[in-house]
Symmetry: C2
Subunit: 144 residues, 2 copies
């Protein structure tokens, strides 16, 4: 199993840095974020070091996310939340700080001031079709 | 396969409402969000109607997310993005508007003004351990 000797999450997996681990299995670890956006804010990581979500195979991402329904139910119960966000940030421009991929589970309540900055636009006529065609072409390549 | 006759995403699955579909398989559909936060903003949904992510089994969430690495790579290419967010909102208080669970893939660039409102706190001494113990207890129940 690959690890990065400088990675803080790899050190948590190895038990070299303490963390409030709430669940683990062969593939993943779930623990409390030490800088929580709300009480009970969780992180879910693969035990093996992968910097980016796009580095995973389909099977690997499935093993990582398979725990999300169970963790989500526990979060609603434990954090007394009305809902939650599941958030993954890929790349520094998207907010990824630790370069070991991780899903956030963020407990939510009405009027808690959290959430995504939502600035929805619209596509000019014809533009959505052009973008969709580009996606279809990219996804049709065997290597994609 | 269950559907909800009032659900806009079920109508897209059935072809009753048009959408720019960029990928589909037996279980899922991926298409352009018509109110994009950035060009190339994608939605990924299960073809079957489930209101909430916590309604899925581990296998079902794995089938839904297995496409995320491939879609993420296509997005970086097609949208010319530096990174992206994967976001799921569960419940109205978390920002869920359409009650058919969906993952957003949101293309990101530096200084684009998007992202999660990040107001990290800290746990008072002992508090994280109490919350972690509550999670461990919740997760140890067979029904959880």
């Amino acid at each position: 199993m690959s690890r990065d000797s400088d990675c803080v999450f790899c050190k948590i997996v190895a038990g070299e840095i303490p963390a409030q681990v709430i669940y683990k299995n062969e593939f993943i670890l779930a623990f409390l974020d030490t800088g929580p956006l709300a009480d009970g804010h969780l992180l879910v990581i693969p035990r093996e070091h992968f910097a980016l979500m796009t580095d995973l195979s389909s099977d690997q991402v499935g093993r990582l996310t398979g725990i999300l329904p169970k963790l989500g139910r526990a979060l609603l119960n434990v954090a007394g939340a009305e809902g939650f966000n599941v958030l993954l940030n890929q790349g520094p421009s998207a907010g990824q700080v630790v370069p070991h991929l991780h899903f956030h589970l963020i407990p939510r309540r009405s009027e808690d001031g959290l959430g995504y900055r939502w600035k929805a636009g619209t596509y000019a006529k014809g533009r959505a079709g052009v973008i969709a065609a580009a996606y279809q072409q990219a996804l049709s390549k065997p290597s994609s």
